[in-house]
């Protein structure tokens, strides 16, 4: 019974949502939207579980002086300060009905001047990681890697003013050989064809996966892998 009820719920909800795509009439038409709202409501309550888990895991680490426990102190302190600033609306409009994001509120200040720069810093790391990954990926180790290297070289060059200038002297009948045009061709023909093939595969994979879940063939997510 512990397994069957979730399976029955999954089957009914999955089937009804598929039907609702094709039947716009009430009560089916709004079901997709409604279920999305139900999910958000559940997610809000589940957030309490997440916060509880965060405090439990890091609290244990601090209590047991686990290796690297000072990082847990930073995590718990950051969480607590942000939560107090948000719940009690320190520095902003007074009272529980005040605006959390009002300029001058502690939450807003922390968000703008601590959290946002930290996020931007993490995002900025991407530039360095792209360089190191490209360095590895574009080594001409074999034929395929050489083709990849050449394609990447043409596309990178085609996106720069230097690339435009380099072949702009070509006469009109040979304009398709201009580097920016070659770059556009690579992106819109071979690259697009490959992407579409992947997307067709993804769509079919999603259909099969969804059917396995709806029909109860796939039940690992319920913690069981057999009937």
């Amino acid at each position: 019974m512990r397994r069957q009820i979730p399976l029955i719920i999954t089957f009914i909800v999955g089937s009804v949502l598929i039907i609702s795509v094709f039947i716009p009439h009430k009560p089916f038409g709004q079901l997709g939207e409604n279920f999305s709202v139900y999910f958000d409501i559940i997610a809000v309550f589940a957030f309490i579980l997440g916060a509880g888990n965060l405090l439990r895991v890091h609290g244990n680490r601090i209590y047991r002086k686990h290796k690297d426990w000072p990082y847990s102190v930073v995590t718990v302190a950051g969480f607590t300060v942000m939560m107090i600033a948000g719940l009690f609306k320190i520095g902003g409009s007074p009272g529980i009905t005040g605006d959390l994001t009002e300029p001058g509120s502690m939450f807003e200040e922390l968000y703008m001047y601590v959290f946002t720069p930290l996020m931007a810093t993490m995002f900025a790391l991407l530039a360095f990681f792209v360089a190191s990954a490209s360095h590895r990926a574009f080594r001409a180790k074999n034929k395929e890697a050489t083709v990849l290297l050449l394609a990447a070289f043409v596309i990178l060059l085609g996106r720069t003013p230097f690339g435009v200038k380099l072949t702009s002297w070509l006469p009109d009948p040979l304009s398709f050989l201009e580097i920016p045009n070659l770059a556009s061709w690579i992106m819109s023909v071979p690259n697009m064809a490959g992407q579409r093939a992947i997307m067709v595969g993804i769509a079919l994979g999603v259909i099969a996966m969804a059917l396995r879940v709806i029909l109860g063939v796939e039940r690992t997510y319920l913690g069981a892998d057999s009937e």
């Binding site: 795509v21 094709f22 039947i23 716009p24 009439h25 009430k26 038409g29 709004q30 999305s36 559940i42 997610a43 589940a46 957030f47 579980l49 997440g50 916060a51 888990n53 965060l54 895991v57 690297d68 990082y71 959290f115 930290l118 996020m119 993490m122 995002f123 991407l126 990681f129 792209v130 190191s132 990954a133 490209s134 590895r136 990926a137 992407q195 992947i198 997307m199 067709v200 595969g201 993804i202 769509a203 079919l204 994979g205 999603v206 259909i207 099969a208 996966m209 059917l211 396995r212 879940v213 029909l215 063939v217 796939e218 690992t220 997510y221 319920l222 913690g223 069981a224 892998d225 057999s226």
Partner: protein, 406 residues
């Protein structure tokens, strides 16, 4: 002299009359041009928006003949009665001959007028449309093709699942990334280091996350048998709860309930880069021997995969985000590309029923391949011959495989 005087007076009077008349004509002409500088749009038709839940009416019209003379757009006016005052419900840009009024009540009758407006705010109203009412439909015929093709593919999947239940065996090509799972877990066990599993950054309402969690279940069962430490940081609370339950059951079914710990799966944060910072920190401090990235990823994919690469971990990634696949291919040892992600759970389970569903996907691939080949051939024949027969056939194939916006 007298005759000259009479003639002079006569011609002066005639001149005055002519002047007055010409002036008057000019005045009539100019006031006329002020009153009606533009020709109005015509043939205004309003009809119920098809394939919807009601509450919407489509208004169509024939463009004003003065479309090229500075018309800036068309204002759509609506009234509940042809004699009552009309009020504006929207504006369509120049060249548009269609507007969807998505704010109607199904029980009311509406009348529409379309007004052409130019840059000088000169306006020209159309005739009033016939009465119209919006109403909900029981079937969206715009999606009939999707129903047929989707039905065929679903039917094939169900058929092959049923076929597999009877004991029929199917051939399945080897997926390198999944073949390497045991090796990757074994390596972590030998090195005495943990295994890191990242189930993506989206919630449980995303099918990629579901796929990630199902793979986690399979992987956790093997990890339980090897007695290796597992670390699953999650960015969503519901994913955390689901992953926790999945891992727990995997340990129980592997007969190693005693080895399970609630700390294996833990919540970090919903924030994308906060999550990445935490995961990178875990990688650098704990140096996992194996990293799995299975689920939906965005810009964080490369940051995590490169950090994993820098600590020398075996990395297996899988996602259905086409934009992130190149990053995983560049930084990871194995990548499950698109459909392989969704096939992984069935592949790892080895259950005939699940493998049967993968066979059903092949029918979808055959349909897609046939459509591509036939469509390309028809378009080519049409381009070469210019025959309308090939043109209309190509259009038919295109329509059959397109979801038309209603």
């Amino acid at each position: 002299m007298k005759t000259f005087s009479y003639s002079f007076i006569f011609y002066c009077l005639l001149g005055l009359i002519l002047l007055a008349t010409t002036d008057g004509l000019a005045q009539v002409e100019s006031s006329d041009s002020l009153l009606s500088p533009l020709l109005p749009p015509s043939e205004v038709i309003a009809e119920d928006h098809p394939g919807d839940a009601g509450g919407a009416i489509i208004v169509r019209w024939k463009l004003s003949p003065d479309e090229d003379k500075g018309i800036t757009g068309y204002e759509i006016l609506r009234s509940a009665s042809p004699t009552a005052e009309f009020s504006s419900v929207g504006f369509a840009a120049t060249g548009a001959n269609r507007y969807v009024d998505a704010n109607t009540e199904d029980s009311l009758t509406y009348y529409y007028k379309v007004v052409a407006i130019d840059a000088d705010r000169n306006a020209s109203e159309s005739e009033i449309s016939p009465p119209v009412r919006s109403s909900p439909q029981w079937f969206n015929f715009h999606l009939l093709n999707l129903l047929i093709i989707g039905g065929l593919i679903c039917g094939a999947v169900i058929y092959f699942i049923a076929h597999a239940k009877k004991g029929k065996k199917f051939f399945l090509r080897k997926i390198a990334g999944l073949e390497a799972v045991d090796e990757a877990i074994g390596r972590a066990t030998e090195m005495g280091r943990p295994i890191l599993f990242i189930p993506g950054i989206l919630d449980m309402d995303d099918v990629q996350t579901i796929a990630g969690i199902t793979i986690l279940g399979r992987v956790a069962k093997t990890i339980a048998q090897y007695e290796t430490k597992l670390n699953v940081p999650t960015s969503r609370s519901i994913v955390m709860s689901t992953a926790m339950e999945t891992v727990k059951e995997a340990y129980i079914s592997a007969g190693r309930a005693d080895a399970y710990s609630d700390d294996f799966v833990h919540y970090v944060t919903d924030e994308q880069f906060g999550y990445v910072a935490a995961v990178d920190g875990i990688m650098v401090r704990e140096k996992p021997a194996t990293c799995f990235y299975i689920g939906a990823f965005f810009a964080e994919s490369l940051i995590m995969a490169e950090t994993g690469n820098s600590i020398g971990a075996i990395q297996i990634a899988g996602t259905a985000m086409p934009a992130q696949l190149p990053f995983f291919v560049a930084a990871c040892d194995y990548t499950l590309i698109g459909e392989e992600l969704f096939a992984a759970s069935a592949y790892l389970s080895g259950e005939p029923k699940q493998l049967g569903s993968l066979k059903g996907q092949d029918v979808g691939k055959i349909i897609a391949m046939l459509a591509i080949v036939i469509g390309a051939l028809l378009e080519t024949f049409f381009a070469i011959s210019g025959s309308s027969f090939f043109g209309s056939l190509a259009e038919l194939v295109h329509k059959l495989f397109s979801i038309v916006a209603s």
